[in-house]
């Protein structure tokens, strides 16, 4: 029985302070999946992904249901993942 190799892209997720995490994801996966992975890798397993936002080319990504490919990402692309809110004095 033939199997279809699943394509995986390497994505570089970068925290607000510049720390990086590299991992693989399917180009057809939704951005929400990428955000979930990135938050746990960058901010710890206990971090809640809904408290974070993803920036692609400096713009906050509001639709997390589109795929990596639809969002214009490619193999080796970088995204920034940062907390939605910052403390304000």
């Amino acid at each position: 029985m033939a199997t279809i190799a699943q394509e995986l892209w390497t994505i570089v997720a970068v925290a607000g302070d510049g720390d990086e995490a590299r991992f693989e994801d399917n180009p057809h996966s939704p951005l929400r999946h990428l955000l979930d992975q990135a938050v746990r890798r960058l901010y710890g397993q206990a971090a809640n992904p809904s408290d974070y936002e993803m920036l692609i080319a400096g713009t906050v990504q509001t639709d997390l249901e589109i795929s990596l490919q639809q969002a214009g990402l490619r193999n080796g692309a970088e995204v920034v993942v940062q907390p939605r809110d910052v403390s304000k004095g």
Partner: protein
């Protein structure tokens, strides 16, 4: 703090900083000694601004964020800042100079302000790459942009 040591710490953090600035769409940082200039544009405008990070004392002390007139970089302070409608702004006097501050951890003005001087934050809070992210947030997510001068 010894200037040579400060320059070495800036060197240590430089590549990560310019990479962060690039991926966030900030202009290419230019460095003169312990001072860094970053050409920027607030979201929704074609107006040019020049953010300045004064890094004397880095990274024991956070960089001091100010803005300069892009045409005359010696002119600094409130009139050179973009006015972002929802930014939490305040003011601090350093020496005989009044500098606007964003009331968010990461730049020296915040950490010197009497309301925050007793807070404890790790140095990573004001790592150059983190300050680039704060600057980007200020320019793109604390609007609307309302013109020049605070």
């Amino acid at each position: 703090m010894d200037t040579e040591l400060v320059l070495a710490v800036i060197d240590r953090d430089w590549q990560v900083f310019i990479a962060q600035a690039a991926r966030l769409g900030l202009g290419a940082p230019r460095r003169t000694g312990v001072e860094i200039g970053i050409p920027v544009r607030p979201a929704g405008t074609g107006e040019d601004y020049l953010a300045i990070l004064e890094c004397d004392g880095y990274d024991v002390a956070a960089p001091l964020l100010d803005f300069a007139n892009p045409e005359h970089p010696d002119q600094r302070g409130g009139p050179c800042w973009p006015r972002m409608g929802s930014a939490p702004m305040n003011q601090i006097t350093i020496g005989n100079r009044s500098v606007p501050i964003i009331c968010t951890p990461g730049t020296r003005g915040y950490h010197l302000h009497i309301s925050h001087v007793h807070e404890a934050h790790p140095r990573t809070t004001w790592r150059l790459s983190a300050v680039a992210t704060l600057l980007h947030r200020f320019l793109t997510q604390m609007g609307p942009y309302q013109g020049r001068g605070v």
